[in-house]
Symmetry: C2
Subunit: 424 residues, 2 copies
Amino acid sequence: MNAEIISVGTELLLGHTINTDASFVARELSTIGVNLLFAGTVGDNVPRLKEALESALSRSDLVITTGGLGPTGDDLTKETIAETAGKKLVMHQESMDRIVSYFKGRELGETQKKQAMLPEGCTVFPNDHGTAPGCGFETADGKTIIMLPGPPSELIPMLKNYAIPYLTRGEKAVIVSKIVRVFGLGEGFVAEKIADLTDCANPTAATYAKDGEMFVRVTARAESEEKAEAMCAPVVEELKSRFEDFIYGIDVESLEEVVVTELGKRGLHLATAESCTGGLLSKRLTDIAGASQVFQMGAVTYANEIKTLLLGVPESTLKQYGAVSEQTARAMAKGVRAKSGSELGIGITGIAGPDGGTPEKPVGLIYIALCDGEHTWVRKMQHAGASKGREYLRWLASSNALDMVRRYLTGCTGLEEAAYSKKI
Amino acid sequence: MNAEIISVGTELLLGHTINTDASFVARELSTIGVNLLFAGTVGDNVPRLKEALESALSRSDLVITTGGLGPTGDDLTKETIAETAGKKLVMHQESMDRIVSYFKGRELGETQKKQAMLPEGCTVFPNDHGTAPGCGFETADGKTIIMLPGPPSELIPMLKNYAIPYLTRGEKAVIVSKIVRVFGLGEGFVAEKIADLTDCANPTAATYAKDGEMFVRVTARAESEEKAEAMCAPVVEELKSRFEDFIYGIDVESLEEVVVTELGKRGLHLATAESCTGGLLSKRLTDIAGASQVFQMGAVTYANEIKTLLLGVPESTLKQYGAVSEQTARAMAKGVRAKSGSELGIGITGIAGPDGGTPEKPVGLIYIALCDGEHTWVRKMQHAGASKGREYLRWLASSNALDMVRRYLTGCTGLEEAAYSKKI
């Protein structure tokens, strides 16, 4: 099935709102085997929307619109589509009741009421996170039109819970996806290693790279959830056997989530001492709600004196080896662990640039130490993405630190191996 | 002039790459008065690109393509456009020389060389950050076509430095933009207050909201930079007189940039003690290259014992008023200032949620203290965006902290007034 997205909204054409809806819809469509031919954006303008819609219907089986369903005067998607498709708009009582209850007794304006007007005979998609419902229907010549609201907080659940089931209604197909997260291997390398798996049509496997890490999405379609799960399982097992402990989680959100969860399970605590990452590691840990159970103290020690004062890094170490050195990273990890009374301490020191590099210690040289009281491990980052700039280097350093903790907690080896250095 | 953007790339239709190029192009076009009618995305597919191009040329004066200029086999934009527009591709020696020098003597494959093939008679836009040049030309029936590379790091400078001047070549017009950054006033309020200014055609003024703050962009077109500057100046002055010290900078990037710059000018140092923001404030400060001159120490003190141990927050304060209290925020600011030997100390404590709120101390209650040794100011955030979630609350708290330091350094009042509470 070929599909097309039309995003409606003048604000999208002014360039200050980035259209993330289209990406989200595209991604979800691909999981049910729908092929996206075009994605277009038009303003809140009836003739232009009509033109875009007519072009889309002339070449695609499915047209999905996002936006323009709300109560304001420039929300004209429904009216335009109904007219183009030769459908009457009729009041949908259940949607009206929902809108009335959403406003909790406050009086409704006419514009609010028009949100309950929907094309005759359509399948209504309730809006569980706002007022404007969406819908799907077939045109006289067998094309499918779906309308979704613009705000991502409304569109995403409506697409998943109503529009995708509507599209797959004939098939009785259930779709199950597994996200296999990998840290420390390049996307090109992973993609090459699983070319045999990504060629398969059901289940599908596809690689994606983001923020210095990557994931493989395994998706199966079957007549029941159980069967779809059973189809995913061997592919996930195969990925596990190929990438071993470079996989840090299945269906998890991030390295920091895994670290906070694993610390919590074991009743352990982590403390951080950061120089070049400047608090990014503690920020990422505390992005996770509930981090307070496992994270008690973070120190951002930019100045040498503060490294000594707060963490007890010996002045002699700083003098002999410099602030950016394996020895200083070790002393920072040990120091913050002891100071905080945590079982684990992390120390990060390096040169994030753009200035401050020397031939001996170039931008991109970063040492990360993990100390558990008995032993201290150090990972050295070098030349890894130095050209990608300060923000990327800082991010990658914090990811490496999280990966070391994750490996430690789950009994993996490779604590000292810098990400991307190994090809398994 | 009416324009249309066509973004080319199958990866954009799979949904894992968000198309930011189109937004950027849209924004830049608006500054030269070009009106964007449509934005479309097509895959790396000759017939579909051709169809999109033909539709676009039939209704718009200007078509800008992004992507598909690179060396790989699926980069087909140039070939398709040249064919559609009836132009021959010819080798552009200067571009070839640039590509050869980019590869520093390594042998060039045929695919690399094809990047120097450009439509006969076009204006070439050199790629100062990559290999594939862009170009602009007019079709036989007077439409303008511009091709730009896909990677934002190449597209952005090429658009600014070559494509926009190409588009405005006939006019001898220079465009000058001033970004007036505002913190602490809502967009709706600001937009209402300057409705008279935003109605004007040249200079234009437009409001934009992002991450809990907003900015006004003032853009003037004139025959010389001097004249355009002179046209912007009175509008900027008018904004200053209307929004006074809620304006934190003109043509600056962020609050943290202003804070680091202003501290540096005065030779002052700042130390941070964070609880609910978990290092986000120190992360933002150290995002600025050169922060090491003014920022020496950050403490992330999640646990009460650490607040006492590291910052000297009295146990009695924590017991009597609780960790989330004005008194604890004050003690944290004082403590980190003293410990670090900095002139200024910030303390932040609060409840970022989603858990941990009580009827007395709900999610969204955050205290921020600034201490200069003589005096301590406290700003209280409450109900400000509590429903927008943990990430937003943490961001807003760190922005409020930066705003307090900015106001202190530049001699403004209002250090204790929570953002958005005041309507001037």
